[in-house]
Symmetry: none
Subunit: 207 residues, 4 copies
Amino acid sequence: MTGQSKHNEETKTGESRGRPRNPEVDRVILEATIEILGQIGYSGMSIEGVAARSGVAKTTIYRRFDSKLELVLNAMNQSLAINEVPNTGSLRGDLKAMLIDSGGLMFLGGRGAAIVGTLLVEREQHPELLEPFHRLIFEPRQRQLHEIFNRANQRGEIDADADHQFVGASLFGSVVVSALTGRQLDESAVDRLLDNIIRSLSTPEVG
Amino acid sequence: MTGQSKHNEETKTGESRGRPRNPEVDRVILEATIEILGQIGYSGMSIEGVAARSGVAKTTIYRRFDSKLELVLNAMNQSLAINEVPNTGSLRGDLKAMLIDSGGLMFLGGRGAAIVGTLLVEREQHPELLEPFHRLIFEPRQRQLHEIFNRANQRGEIDADADHQFVGASLFGSVVVSALTGRQLDESAVDRLLDNIIRSLSTPEVG
Amino acid sequence: MTGQSKHNEETKTGESRGRPRNPEVDRVILEATIEILGQIGYSGMSIEGVAARSGVAKTTIYRRFDSKLELVLNAMNQSLAINEVPNTGSLRGDLKAMLIDSGGLMFLGGRGAAIVGTLLVEREQHPELLEPFHRLIFEPRQRQLHEIFNRANQRGEIDADADHQFVGASLFGSVVVSALTGRQLDESAVDRLLDNIIRSLSTPEVG
Amino acid sequence: MTGQSKHNEETKTGESRGRPRNPEVDRVILEATIEILGQIGYSGMSIEGVAARSGVAKTTIYRRFDSKLELVLNAMNQSLAINEVPNTGSLRGDLKAMLIDSGGLMFLGGRGAAIVGTLLVEREQHPELLEPFHRLIFEPRQRQLHEIFNRANQRGEIDADADHQFVGASLFGSVVVSALTGRQLDESAVDRLLDNIIRSLSTPEVG
DNA sequence: ACATAAGCGAGACGGTACGTCTCGTCTTCTG
DNA sequence: CAGAAGACGAGACGTACCGTCTCGCTTATGT
């Protein structure tokens, strides 16, 4: 009752009175959340279901997360963590690794589409969700892409003045479109996509 | 989809026995749907609420639309209708018109973000929704873009072998990213975006 | 939405629009309520439990009864119904029948104690419950007692100017006290009680 | 009941190791209990609320009282304490004093109704509560009544062989009935009640 | 004209999940 | 050890919508 103690981050902060939260509980909740998201999607997921699956009381979930969305963001934060930037020696290899290899989670693989979609849907109702999404999910990938481009630039593969953000958006847009049109991004589709990306990064001599 | 009388289109078809559907009822339902979508968003919207607002019985809505999403898609179809392809005489002008002028609804303006997001979220649970979305929302815009590019090509503004789909996806991706990051697409941002788009459409002679 | 439609009585009244309530549903709800009351008592009873036992949705119960207490009063009304006034030919016999024979429900037998206790507890929070209790439970028994006394009077067994209400209260008080002290009202206890009652009904010549 | 330190009485007993209980804490708990009982009644009262109002931790209350009812019984015991047996010189005066004067708490005044009602409701679920109620609340009043009757008997006001328990139950029953019917026991009602009581105590010579 | 058939409003019904509340137990820290 | 603080599992609360259903009424045919 003294103040704000939601979002487990806060738990560490503060003077810590009373029984401390069990970190194991955090773990099982987020794990169950990810599992369920992967199986029945965001809209089908219920907090009641997460409680049941994780063997934790509903109260305990609500004590930590104000809402379904908050819970999902935290869960995503964990499961979508970027471990390392691929470094295959070529731009094409790095991008391919990012799109396909990295744990199947890159961009919209796995449950990525669900969270991006959720954000698009809820961004007017809950604009406060944009910030954590941005910080936790978006920016890390943007930095990753930036690093890949920088290395390609140092190798002379691409031009220095390419607009990294636009190229990232192009890549992302293609992935979204393929998700929206129900087309799988198979080997050849990825190759074609990368052709386009790389071409647009090589500034034409004319212009 | 097996059904015999869902989706108002079907009403016209068939031998039409019994009391005919009141087309006015269609109108008020879709109108109320759009209003509510604009005010409280997709996830906050309930069919019960649409019934209340439009002064129509729940049964009547369910008779016409199988689900909330179907209802929303139909409503979107009306409000997002493309009236005409802009023809300003230049590629830049056409694209700008498409992004800004067309009723503020282009791509993700208005409630566009909600529907795209919804599709991303629901596409695994309800893949059958991709088809109507594709047909009603996506393809018309793709055709529009295609026509704009063709005209630009005829004017010699861009190269013939540009990948229209990829360019469209790039454009779309940028809009989605701006929606996800909470950044408005203002005049100068649109200009920068168009610079990038047009540059990528002018294939470098050197490969 | 048009008005007040709680309490199944109201269902019959009114113009009856929409799907009519299933009277069978009323029956099973009240039956389950009585069963549960008899087994685990008022405070242990939950509407959720009644729903489960009666195989009816919680919503359906709430549609008919505003609260647990309202539900219980209605259930009591059915199960505590007085069928007929005993008529054994003697005051003692009538009273004894009333106390013991009449379905085991007389006064505080069965779940009578529970409802009387509930009323005592809730009467300040929900004074509106006193009226239905009075009408449904209390007065019928008072009338029954009145009739028994009247017949005894006509037979010359007791004095005309006895205060029936006070005598009833004495009888009732004895039953309550035995409930509160945990003493069963066995054959001999009832006999002693009736001795006292009958004596107090025969006005002393001196006075 | 197995416990070694429940019910503050026990505190005094025992060898008393470790930090002694703060008797002030007992006081504020019971005080808060009474206050809340008087304001929102038994069923509305929560131990959580008592803790909040008394500024004491929930643990502290549970350490002293096993249950809500135990707590209430103890609180009642304090506030319903009988200070002295009225001795006005006449049976009528003594009874009147008992009913009206004694702090407004006699029998079912104040929160008496709540506790009696609670006992009636809970007596099957928790028969162990009957004993403390009997000891703390019931018997003292029975003894008081007994003494009043004995004095009246010595003064020759009433007959020796009157059944004190039955008369007490009659008195009690009348009070309960007035509580159940929502009728206040005003001056004239008390007078009428006492008329009846006293008459029934004067055994008719003719039988 | 009049049966046939569907449209429509109204609301019951079985469900599911919501987010809140209180319960009683527990664990930890401070004095 | 007492006491404050709060985590935790448990489970009921009353509400909101869901999608289906059963009514009574209305409104167009097609014979």
